[in-house]
Amino acid sequence: MSIKDENGLVDRCLNGDEAAWAELYRLYYPQIRFVVGWKRWGFSKNEVEDGIQEVFTELIRSLPSFRQEAKLSTFVEKLARNRCVSHLRKRSALKRPQEAMGVELEEGKGEEGGLRHHVVSRDAGPENALIASEDQRELLRALTEMPEACRQIVSLRYYRQMSYQEICAVLDLPLGTVCSRLKRCLSKLKSLMTKVGGA
């Protein structure tokens, strides 16, 4: 569909033409269905159906503010992706409180063969469940206290294991600045760890 036709369709929709809305739905349903129903999201069938509906609802609501500079299909796809990523985050957020409690439940059979749940472990958090040594807890505390810029450059280098060139590209800094900044941030980290350790 050309941009002219798309603009015409949008105008008709905004003027309340029911047939135009039906056409809009028919035109973009396959695209939205593909994006929301993409298997790698891991959404259930109900989640996909709800997702398609939500994207259309969002499309209907945001159509009046749609600036007709970009293609409508690009706009629709962006809405669909936004919705999928938001839903992924919601799902992760729902999982997180249970994990944060540090309680992991395991199914087991009770005496009469019924299912029972019993506690397996209690830890401070999911990612740090494996942290045993005091040094590592100290490291985590120091990293948390560091300024964001310092933490980022240290993470990029030692956690993400990026090369210096890659870090230069990400931070948009020359190589010398990256190296000297890394050195200063490591010194800062050292002083934080010393402070935490001494406290």
């Binding site: 790698r40 999201w41 992706r81 490291l139 590209a169």
Partner: protein, 603 residues
């Protein structure tokens, strides 16, 4: 002194990680020996780096920064590499520092690739659910049913409004108000009669006078109905955009991008629905800007396979032959709308001659609607040979984006060319033949076409820059598999020295820190790398590249051809961790354009 201190500070961490070159290592060694405090600091930093590495390896995760959903979706709209990714450095840093966000980004990139590869099923569309119908009705834009309840509510609203207005007015004495109203009326009439040249009020003014805000359609017709001369026209804009079209596309986003480029160079332009126009005096500058060597911009596109004309035909060829990973294919027009010349422009920026077509070279006039262009990426070292002189009976419009060399720019001129590919069959049949050949259905292809393809392959050999493209064309024309190149006997390489844990990557020449060496990050899956074209069996070119790469990454490289594929032997000159080696491997794959079947062997 301060500069020396700064220079030393820059080198300390690379020194600890073992990635400095010997000359700079000696400088730092001398500084450490001369300064006891520096030596102690270095020891502490070394220990800290070990603690960091052990901590992260054992599961410590730094606090994860967040990006908004919209930011992640926006970043993922553009392919790979941090050097070309849009967004601020803050956004990019957060993206890479956060596992969750990075995973979302990777998913979105994979989704993008799947979307590009997939044809949507437009048949099984269910009926619009009632809840959505109610949703758009609730927008209030459509004609609503006037129920008695709504009618009563409206009446009540009017009554309430009247009561409020009258109670407000009754607070004031009427005489001063009447005097002010009379004065205002006299003033308005006086201004009105003094403006003799004001345009007469017509129907369009009636629309403006309405209380409800005009819909977009009304706004457009309003704008269109008022002409500079004051006489309303019949909904057609009185002033039409004029100028020379330097860019044509149906894609508004692309038009906008191109317009922004002109704007950044302060070139005046006019954008219509499908093209960008500039004044005659700005044409050369506009072309230079739009067809710059860094961007390699396509000038006109055929963006739909169903499109009629040469663009659509060339796209179908591209789809059938699998030579294009992107939706853009360009072809020239001829007077009778038969495609005569075409190249295919892949998503990776490669330019491949379309089977059955000769490549184009010359820039002529601005493209007409439906015309297409040849596009040459910045890496093209030379443009193809110019087409032959046109025959007066069959002129065609050939447009090409310029190559990066200045001499090619100077060759830009209006030229009509004849169809280069003089075969017994029409171009449309040649397109079909190409598709058959690519599917291995050689027997379905007439011998005349096959011989024409061979001729084309020979022609393209001298025109096409990339060896990979040449091999593809040859195999397509002759129905062969992967090409066989000359074999290379590998030089004996000693066994590698055991690796240590120090150092992460092979940054050579850290002293030249004023000029950063940009490095690309591939964040997509390995399928992206598999799509790259294989390194041509032209040994001298490959060896030359390997020499440069080897010096840059402190490794020794050699190569040979085995069973039609390239085997690259890599011997590190210094101790390297597995991670460093993986990084070098990745780099080699990219720089040498290795495909999945090519292997890199570490010795």
């Amino acid at each position: 002194m301060d500069n020396d201190h700064l220079n030393i500070e820059e080198k300390l961490i690379p020194y600890l990680e073992g990635v400095l070159n010997p000359k700079e290592r000696r400088v730092v060694d001398a500084a450490i020996q001369a300064d006891g405090a520096l030596a102690r600091e270095m020891a502490e930093l070394r220990e800290l780096i070990l603690v960091l590495r052990e901590g992260f390896a054992s599961g410590v995760k730094p606090p994860q920064d967040e990006l908004s959903v919209a930011e992640v979706v926006e970043l993922s709209s553009y392919p790979g590499s941090a050097t070309v990714m849009p967004g601020t450095s803050q956004q990019k840093a957060r993206l890479f520092c956060s596992d969750g966000v990075l995973e979302e980004y990777r998913l979105l990139r994979a989704l993008q690739e799947d979307v590009e590869r997939t044809t949507l099923d437009r048949e099984n569309v269910p009926e619009m659910p009632a809840v959505l119908r109610r949703e758009f009705q609730s927008l209030g834009k459509g004609p609503r049913e006037v129920t008695p309840k709504r009618l009563k509510a409206r009446e009540n609203k009017l009554l309430l409004g009247w009561r409020r207005a009258s109670s407000w007015v009754s607070r004031f004495s009427p005489r001063p108000l009447m005097g002010a109203a009379a004065a205002l009326l006299i003033l308005t009439l006086g201004i009105h009669f003094s403006q003799d040249s004001a345009p007469p009020l017509g129907e369009s003014s009636g629309q403006v006078a309405r209380n409800d805000s005009p819909t977009r359609h009304e706004q457009n017709s309003l704008a269109a109905s008022v002409s500079p001369s004051g006489a309303p026209s019949a909904g057609v804009a009185a002033t039409e955009a004029s100028g020379i079209a330097v860019f044509t596309s149906d894609d508004r986003v692309l038009l906008k991008e191109q317009a922004e480029k002109l704007l950044s160079h302060k070139v005046r332009y006019t954008v219509t629905t499908d093209r960008i126009l500039v004044a005659q005096s700005d044409v050369d500058q506009a072309r230079k800007i739009l067809w710059s060597s860094t961007a390699g911009t396509a000038v006109a596109l055929a963006d739909q396979e169903s499109a009629s004309g040469p663009g659509g035909a060339a796209m179908r060829v591209a789809r059938d032959t699998g030579m294009s990973a992107g939706p853009r294919v360009e072809a020239t027009t001829s007077e009778d709308e038969q495609p005569s010349q075409a190249v295919m422009y892949t998503a990776k920026g490669e330019v491949l001659p379309a089977p059955g077509f000769a490549s184009t070279a010359q820039v002529t006039s601005a493209p007409t609607q439906g015309a297409a262009v040849a596009y040459y990426p910045p890496s093209a070292s030379q443009a193809p040979a110019p087409p032959k002189a046109p025959s007066p009976t069959a002129p065609s419009h050939v447009v090409a984006a310029k190559a990066s060399s200045a001499s090619t720019q100077s060759q830009v001129a209006t030229k009509a060319v004849s169809r280069q590919f003089k075969g017994p069959l029409k171009a449309s049949k040649r397109i079909g033949a190409s598709a058959d050949l690519s599917r291995g259905r050689e027997d379905a292809v007439p011998s005349a076409i096959k011989s024409e393809m061979q001729n084309l392959a020979r022609q393209e050999k001298s025109e096409v820059d990339s060896d990979a493209r040449r091999e593809k064309l040859r195999s397509l024309a002759l129905g062969q598999g992967a090409p066989q190149g000359p074999s290379v006997s590998a030089a004996p390489i000693p066994r590698p020295v055991p690796l240590n844990a120090a150092g992460v990557d092979s940054v050579a020449g850290v002293s030249s820190m004023a000029a950063p060496v940009p490095d690309e990050i591939t964040l997509e899956s390995s399928s992206a790398e598999a799509g790259d074209a294989p390194v041509e069996a032209h040994l001298d070119r490959v060896e030359k590249k390997m020499r440069d790469l080897g010096q840059r990454h402190d490794v020794e490289l050699s190569a040979e051809i085995k069973e039609g594929h390239l085997v690259v032997y890599l011997r590190p000159k210094k101790t390297m961790t597995k991670l460093e080696l993986d990084g070098v491997r990745k780099m080699l794959r990219k720089e040498l354009h290795l495909v999945e079947a090519d292997t890199i062997v570490v010795r």
